[in-house]
Amino acid sequence: MTLKTEPVTINLGPQHPSTHGVFRFRVTFDGEQIADIEPIFGYLHRGSEKLAEERTYAQVVTLTDRMDYVSSMLSNQAYILAVEKLCGIEPSPRGVWLRMIAAELQRIASHMVAIGFLLQDLGTWGTPLTYAMRERESVLEMFEMLCGARITNSYLRPGGVFMDAPVEFLPVLDSFLSALPHRIDELESYLTGNEIIFARTKGVAVLKPEIAINASLTGPMIRASGIDWDLRHRDPYDYYDRVSFKRPLHRAGDNFARYWVRMQEMRECITIIRQCVEQMEPGPVRPSHDDVPYLLRPPVGDAYVAIEGSKGELGFYLVSDGGISPYRCHVRAPSFINLTLLREMLIGTLMGDLFVSFGSVDLNMGEVDR
């Protein structure tokens, strides 16, 4: 006798603890397989883009902190680069090096969060998450040294950074960078060889390179599908053309590949930071107030700048009408665009893999909804 089964539609979220923020799925299950999935978002919409139209260019930095609150330095950087392009500001070299260091540190912190939570979703209940968070903590402590805040940094200013790093910063950075490879090795020996993780992540939620390109995915997502697309290399901003680094690629396109690419990218961040520290020269960290006043009035026009954020191409589009605040500000949020392929990724997988695959996208609801 065969049992008759019917598809069941279930709402997951918006308050489920492992949905990485307030996010809701409407999933249709056929038995244990996912037959259809519809992402519903907008629960964290704060209207940051609209708020930016009411603030002066210098004040908008504080809003960008709160977009992707796991990698606020990178949001700062993207916005500041857009302002610099809009106003034609020539940044101070030392400020650029410092903000590259800050950005790469932030990438380490953000990938640590991604990896930690991915494994939390796999059911490792906290242990690797605490290890990953411990490393992130050291980065946040360094941010506190640099700019007095851990999450909402507001460290960057048009033309550089607001203040030079304190004297204690470099030794701390140095000891962190020498300790980090061992910590990553340890985390890898803990996880990368683990049979349970292999079984749960290999071959799950595979993204073919063609559809990844079609959906304009970016960041670790597309590099895990084997496409060598990294804006730091393709379209260098700041001084990324003066540092050399490898771009880890994985061809499988499954959850394991996405985890692996992030893991390897953190090692590359270390080499980038080391090169930045070496090439950094003393000097002012931002142009004088005569060149870059507090109240910027860019000429009429628009500017789009994209950087390689921790989650993908993070772009800011600013339109100026000649006034003191942007006429329009639009953010190309990588998490949001990486989310569009959720359906293709997940149809046909099992219920238990849903949150793991969702975590492997590494999205941040603050950025998706803005």
């Binding site: 007095g148 020996s189 803990y190 003393p282």
Partner: protein, 223 residues
């Protein structure tokens, strides 16, 4: 071999089991007699003899000592340090605040006529219930009158109590953070050691270090 990876992982967990912990038991932590004596800076016998009550508690492991993490001098706490003598009432800080939560009311003070009349300040309210401690107001202050504070424990039950008014700003302990104030950094001022800067002469004016000084500090100092 199947299961090798799992065992390796368990090895890492065991290694971490004996490492020093990273977690801080804020706001206080239970200590035994040795810990309590160490915190008080005396020998355990002395500690017990001096206050037997505390010593007994410590012996039973129910004594507590306050526990804080090390904060950076630039930490932006949720209070402000303000030097009234130096404030001209120009309200740059209020204008620069992204949220518009600083309220300043002034009237002509009638003093300092030669230097351009300064204003007497009637109201200086900062609504820290909405403040995001971005520090832009501090950056905007042209006279170094406003500084970020360094404390962060201002928990409250009433929203209105979160508004810092001029009386509080006058009477608060002055523990400025060195955020955007290089002069504090220069002399290694650390607000977390309990130091205060009582008047604006001691606070000094901020001046970005010259490239030569920077070279000395960063390049020569590192060798």
């Amino acid at each position: 071999m199947q299961g090798q990876g799992l065992l390796k992982g368990l090895g890492v967990t065991m290694k971490n089991f004996v490492r020093p912990v990273h977690t801080v038991q804020y706001p206080d932590r239970k200590v035994g007699l040795l810990g309590a004596a160490k915190r008080a800076g005396v020998s355990p016998f002395r500690f017990f003899a001096d206050n037997p009550r505390e010593g007994l508690k410590a012996l039973l492991f129910i004594a507590t000592v306050p526990e804080r993490v090390q904060q950076a001098p630039r930490f932006r706490g949720n209070e402000f340090t303000w030097y009234e003598d130096r404030c001209t009432g120009c309200a740059s800080c209020a204008k620069y605040c992204p949220l518009g939560i600083i309220k300043i009311v002034t009237h002509p003070g009638g003093i300092d006529v030669q230097e351009g009349e300064s204003y007497a300040i009637d109201v200086f309210d900062i609504d820290i219930g909405r403040c995001m401690f971005c520090g832009l107001c501090v950056e905007a202050c042209p006279y170094d009158a406003l500084h970020m504070g360094s404390q962060f424990e201002r928990g409250n039950y009433v929203r209105n109590d979160l508004v810092i008014d001029i009386e509080q700003l006058r009477s608060n302990l002055k523990r400025p953070s060195s955020w955007f104030r290089p002069q504090f950094e220069e002399r290694k001022f650390d607000p977390f050691k309990g130091e205060t800067v009582d008047d604006h002469y001691k606070a000094g004016r901020h001046e970005q270090p010259s490239p030569d000084e920077l070279k000395e500090r960063w390049v020569d100092g590192r060798k």
